[in-house]
């Protein structure tokens, strides 16, 4: 009996000690979001790091993306990069990363036939990265080449969008192309290791999984990722973006066949706000991405053949431009959004007219709003169309995690709910409240930027000619558009040589000074 008591006491002490140790070492639990689908043979992982380019270290802009690249395009403690690639190959499994401003998403996809081996490898890359010096050289070269060669030299549409983002969020953590040339050059492998150690913590890593996985995998993942250093997620506070005054135009000078144009302004509304859904209807009517529904598309391309497409957005839109899906990427959430118009490249001689035509339609859109019939049609469209956005488990998982980021109900469900109670007055009020056609950032990528700037600053007429007769109505409208007075903020409008874009942390200021030197 006594012996039992001693044993019991000893056991109790052990348990208490264990509890004590546990409470002393209690870590922030790793967050998990899952969508279980028993019959799905494809398993998708979306491991989100709640850090992005806004967490970059000053002078080392791009370190967040480069560290992520070292994980997905590098090895583990046990395996070199080449060995990782060789293991993944026969399974046709994918591992990729989507570094962004607020978060960084590691995506893994595998058939369930290979899940066990894949998970071991995927988790090992994240938890025990190799950080090999040769891999670092290769990945840094890639990151630099993306800025210096791809964006500056071979992709005018994305160049225009990045230049626009930089201007709109000047002096703000969002205001880079998620890296700078000088920042990448200054980053060493030791910097990357230190960044990893500091940033990849239990509080910042967020696991997402979808498909027909064994349910025991969830507990296993929580346990495995709990081995990361302790750390809480504390979001970086963001300043309010500066509001443009008049039209503030960045003319990016580069050799180019055609002229790419973006315009817009910061927007104080996101998916968590009720007005977002009113603006969603308004925006769909005005410029739904890659459809023929929008006013912009019909007036600029449909009536005038100005370019390939003309769209508008109430949140930053990434993806959806290839021949495949026209739907946006998931897992690119931002706490501060923007309203924007994207005009795909126009013939250089029509660029000035195209900007005016977009401004003309935007003003009409804000002044007139939607009729009840237009509202009803558009609302019905979105109610059905939004259901197509989450066709795969992978996208459903992405949307679910984004909804949690914004602190709102499931996005697609919420759209349905909000649309039901929306009125045309809500939509027209939201347009007038949130869209400001008088104060916009504009980015124009052009061969001959200085001449275009001079023409635009002088508000010179920009007549358009057609290869075939167009209707009297359009010709009359063209007369108004081609002389439309644009209130351009001359002091804030500048020519930016492309080779200096993405170079430094605050390109706007540096480049404006250089442009002034050119003028002298």
């Amino acid at each position: 009996m006594k012996r039992h008591s001693i044993l019991l006491t000893g056991l109790l002490l052990c348990i208490l000690n264990a509890l004590n140790i546990q409470s002393m070492n209690a870590k922030t639990p790793v967050k998990v979001t899952e969508i279980y689908s028993e019959n799905s043979p494809l398993i998708t992982f979306r491991i989100i790091l709640r850090a992005g380019s806004i967490n970059d270290i000053k002078g080392k802009e791009g370190i967040n993306g480069l560290t992520a690249l070292m994980i997905t395009n590098g090895g583990t403690q046990d395996l070199k990069y080449q060995e990782v690639v060789a293991k993944l190959y026969p399974w046709a499994a994918n591992i990729s990363v989507q570094p962004d401003k607020e978060i960084t998403t590691f995506i893994g996809q595998v058939h369930r036939d290979h899940l066990e081996k894949f998970y071991k490898l995927f988790s090992d890359l994240l938890l025990n990265p190799r950080f090999d010096p040769d891999d670092f050289t290769r990945n840094k070269d890639l990151a630099l080449s993306f800025l210096e060669k791809n964006l500056r030299g071979t992709d005018d549409e994305n160049l225009g969008k990045e230049a626009f983002g930089i201007s709109m969020f000047a002096n703000h953590p969002y205001g880079t192309a998620d890296a700078t040339v000088q920042g990448l050059k200054a980053t060493t492998l030791e910097d990357v290791k230190a960044y990893y150690k500091k940033t990849y913590t239990t509080g910042k890593v967020w696991i997402g999984i979808a498909g027909g996985y064994p349910k025991s995998l969830i507990e296993r993942m929580k346990k495995d990722f709990a081995r990361l250093p302790e750390g809480k997620f504390v979001p970086i506070s963001l300043p309010k973006p500066e509001k443009p005054h008049g039209l503030e135009i960045s003319f990016v000078e580069k050799p180019a066949r055609a002229t790419a144009i973006s315009l817009g302004h910061p927007l104080d509304v996101t998916r968590k706000d009720k007005d977002f859904y009113a603006l969603m209807v308004a925006n769909s009517y005005f410029g739904e991405h890659r459809t023929f529904n929008g006013v912009l598309m019909n007036r600029l391309r449909g009536d005038r053949g100005l370019n390939y497409g003309d769209y508008s957005y109430i949140e930053r839109f990434t993806g959806g431009t290839g021949s495949g899906s026209r739907f946006p990427n998931v897992n690119t959430p931002l706490r501060q959004q923007s309203f924007s118009i994207w005009l795909r490249p126009t013939q250089p001689e029509n660029a000035h007219f195209a900007v005016r035509a977009a401004m003309y339609e935007l003003q009409k859109f804000v002044d007139d709003g939607l009729t009840d019939e237009q509202f009803q049609q558009t609302r019905k469209f979105i109610a059905n169309y939004s259901k197509l956005w989450a066709q795969t488990l992978d996208r459903r998982l992405g949307y679910k995690m984004d909804s949690e980021f914004y602190g709102t109900d499931d996005y697609i469900t919420r759209i349905d709910k909000e649309l039901k109670t929306l009125t045309v007055n809500d939509v027209n009020r939201a347009i007038k409240k949130h869209i400001d056609p008088a104060n916009l950032e504009v980015a124009i990528v052009s061969d001959g930027a200085k001449a275009l700037r001079d023409s635009m600053l002088a508000n010179a007429p920009s007549p358009i000619t057609y290869s075939s007769p167009v209707s009297e109505k359009i010709l009359n409208e063209d007369k108004v558009i081609s002389t439309l007075l644009l209130h351009i903020n001359k002091a804030k409008s500048k020519v930016v040589p492309v080779n200096e874009l993405f170079e430094n942390e605050s390109p706007g200021q540096t480049l404006e000074r250089k442009d002034d030197e050119v003028k002298k």
Binding site: H111, E157, R301, Y308, F327, P345, F381, T392, S468
Partner: protein, 450 residues
């Protein structure tokens, strides 16, 4: 009442063993049951049930692409015509057509390739009849003015402009132009720029183009998702039944054998690293001959991320950013294209030599059984993993229907992959990778030192 002939019924009556109803099986790479019915006018209807509650993907594939552009000066017309198909009919004007799509919340678009043009709609299954109504109407009754035609040509130029800010598109254009002398693969699907500039003057030809190619015998309707075959056939009979067959016979000029290596230097005004693109004239797609599947396996041997060349050039030497190679499926013999971006211009020749050396090795060194098994596994899983939604499945079957007219080709060709031997791989390496069968395009930055 339109008489329809259901293929599997007809074949059953003839006592044949073939059937147009593929039940689907887990051991096949394409595991979903497929049913096909051919209407009396030649239009094929293919349905594939898939677990996408309330959603269907509706494709119309026209086996007409830039390959059909046989007249000089009219390249790019298949693609231009794809744009014109959105310009309306008497029953459904351009705006009315769009209003219908808007009312059902459909995702709707189209694309053109060298060999085919595909029109696709993703929407609620409840909208099936509405979709068949508007789609059949534009395929049978398209009507547009000369003014609308000319205006749309501006959008085509805009599309050319957006695509050609990338040097890769320009390189591809030059490679095709140099490698081919007679066949219509000489031009890209976008067409030559001079022909695009002349498009506004070709209204009459556009009418001829529609009359020739937008005929039921060139088309297949593919519906995937929450779908009932009999219902689709009944509706197709109602809406497409009066569509008349055409009479035009395509005669694509045969390409003579290439007799000497060709080299095309190019310069690029904006920032770029040197890009080498090497094209070897390869075989046509086939679901019965071993050449094309063996070439696909060879492309993995030489250029996949597990290849020796990738290890050497990308990982060890780090002399290139990437290296890739392969041949896209085509109805006629197409180019096997190798592309690489070289980090240091002084290494261009060295990189080229490494690529040629890897090809020479593949001609005489058999691939190990282990490597071949891994490649076959990769091909099978990478295909299967892409079939995760109705639209992806419809798009995949569209491709195989475009190649051969037969949706079952996907399973036939993957059976061929399984049968590829190391000898087959050496055979195609020797047959297609000769120096005189090669065209090289080298793009460098204007004014850059090499």
């Amino acid at each position: 009442m339109v008489k329809i002939i259901t293929v599997f019924v007809l074949i059953a009556l003839m006592g044949a063993t073939l059937s147009a109803e593929s039940p689907g099986a887990k051991d096949k790479v394409f595991p979903y049951p497929t049913r096909q019915t051919i209407l009396d006018n030649g239009l094929k209807i293919v349905t594939i049930p898939f677990d996408s509650p309330g959603i269907i993907s509706y494709y119309t594939v026209v086996r007409t692409g830039s390959r059909n552009e046989v007249e000089p000066g009219l390249s790019g017309f298949a693609h231009f015509f794809e744009h014109m198909m959105f310009r309306g009919t008497e029953k459904y004007s351009k705006d009315k057509y769009n209003d219908v799509l808007k009312s059902i919340g459909a995702d709707n678009n189209a694309f053109t390739t060298d060999d085919y043009t595909a029109y696709h709609t993703l929407a609620s299954a409840e909208a099936l009849e509405m979709i068949i109504d508007i789609e059949s109407d534009r395929f049978m009754n398209l009507k547009y003015s000369e003014e609308a035609f000319k205006t749309e040509s501006g959008a085509i130029l805009g599309e050319y402009n957006k695509n050609y800010s990338s040097p890769f598109m320009t390189i591809f254009e030059k490679l095709r132009d140099a490698a081919y002398s007679s066949h219509t693969y000489k031009h890209t699907t976008m067409g030559f720029l001079k022909d695009i500039m002349d498009m506004p003057n070709q209204y009459k030809y556009s009418l001829t183009f529609f009359d020739r190619w937008y005929r039921p015998e060139y088309c297949t309707v593919i519906v995937v998702g929450d779908v009932n075959h009999d219902k689709v056939v009944a509706l197709a009979k109602k809406y497409y039944g009066s569509w008349k067959r055409g009479s035009y016979v395509l005669d694509v000029p045969a390409e003579p054998p290439q007799t000497e290596e060709k080299f095309v230097p190019m310069s690029w005004k904006a920032q770029t690293l040197p890009i080498i693109s090497i094209g070897y004239r390869g075989p046509a797609f086939s679901d019965s001959k071993i050449d094309m599947p063996a070439m696909d396996v060879l492309s993995q041997v030489l250029f996949s991320q597990s290849s020796d060349l990738f290890r050497k050039l990308v990982i060890e030497d780090q002399s290139v950013e990437f290296v890739q190679g392969g041949e896209q499926d085509h109805r006629d013999p197409e180019l096997f294209i190798i592309t690489t971006r070289v980090k240091d211009p002084t290494n261009i020749q060295k990189v080229q030599d490494e690529i040629y050396s890897a090809i020479e090795k593949a001609k005489t060194s058999p691939v190990s059984g282990e490597q071949l098994a891994e490649i076959k596994s990769f091909l099978k899983y990478s295909y299967a993993m892409g079939l995760d939604n109705a639209d992806a499945i419809a798009r995949s079957i569209t491709h195989y229907v475009a190649m051969t007219g037969d949706p079952e080709s996907v399973n036939k060709v993957y059976s061929l992959y399984d049968s590829v031997t190391p000898e087959d791989i050496m055979m195609v390496a020797n047959k297609y990778f000769g120096t005189s069968n090669r065209t090289v395009v080298l793009l460098t930055m204007e004014g850059a030192k090499q």
